[in-house]
Amino acid sequence: MALPDGMTSCAMCVQYNTATGTATWIDASDALSVVEPPSQARMTGEAYVFGEDVAVTGVGKREPVEVTVRGVFAEGSTTAHPFYQIYAQFTTACGGPFAVRWAPASCTTDHEVFSTNTVDSEVVSVTFPAGEAGSADPIMFEAVIRSRDITRAVWS
């Protein structure tokens, strides 16, 4: 078997939308710098019986998933920067929809994209931009998006 081509996130693109369903996706690749690899788990359970030394195991349904995104903060209006979109959705009563999707190799034909659920994704945590006198690092912000699942799709 041939050695697979190694991939980097050099050309990764990230997009978001703030409406339920298959709405308009807005590219945020110029503002976001990290999408932490999310993991989704299944509920598990176990029980023990006296007659055996090992557990009786059970596997349940998929648990919700949380995706953490981190970006470079820039001041602007609600339409100028994803931080303000995230903040607006976060402060909406009961949470406004905010779906995020990312294509590790790029948003072009043939490449794969992973997306939080477009019906049920909300911002559940925001880390506000802050600074440190002894640092020259750009000011960052962070948000956690909670969703029922992540869908894999192919650009075509």
Binding site: T22, R101, T109, T151, A153, V154, W155, S156
Partner: protein, 91 residues
């Protein structure tokens, strides 16, 4: 059926033959950026034939029949509304 048209029937002048495809997995179209679930019928005329053949081979799409979900409904009375014909499969 009596009113079924022969498969090799040529389109009338002005009619556009557009093959449409059913996606068998989630896809995102580069044209509108929307995500479409498995089973959606799509117009892939933006893709070169080579790409379509590759997607068919990979099992991402199959030939289908019906109205694609990614084509906006033409305005009533517009040229497109009367001049478009789809012949999705049966080569």
């Amino acid at each position: 059926m009596a009113d079924e048209k022969p498969k090799d029937e040529k389109p009338n002048e002005g009619e556009q033959i557009v093959e449409v495809y059913r996606c068998l997995d989630w896809v995102v179209l580069t044209t509108d950026g929307n995500m479409y679930p498995p089973g959606t019928i799509l117009d892939l005329s933006h893709l070169p034939d080579k790409s379509i053949q590759r997607f068919l081979k990979k099992g991402l799409y199959e030939l289908a029949e019906g109205e694609p979900a990614n084509v906006p409904q033409p305005l009533i009375g517009s040229e497109k509304a009367t001049g478009r014909k789809r012949r999705p499969c049966c080569k």
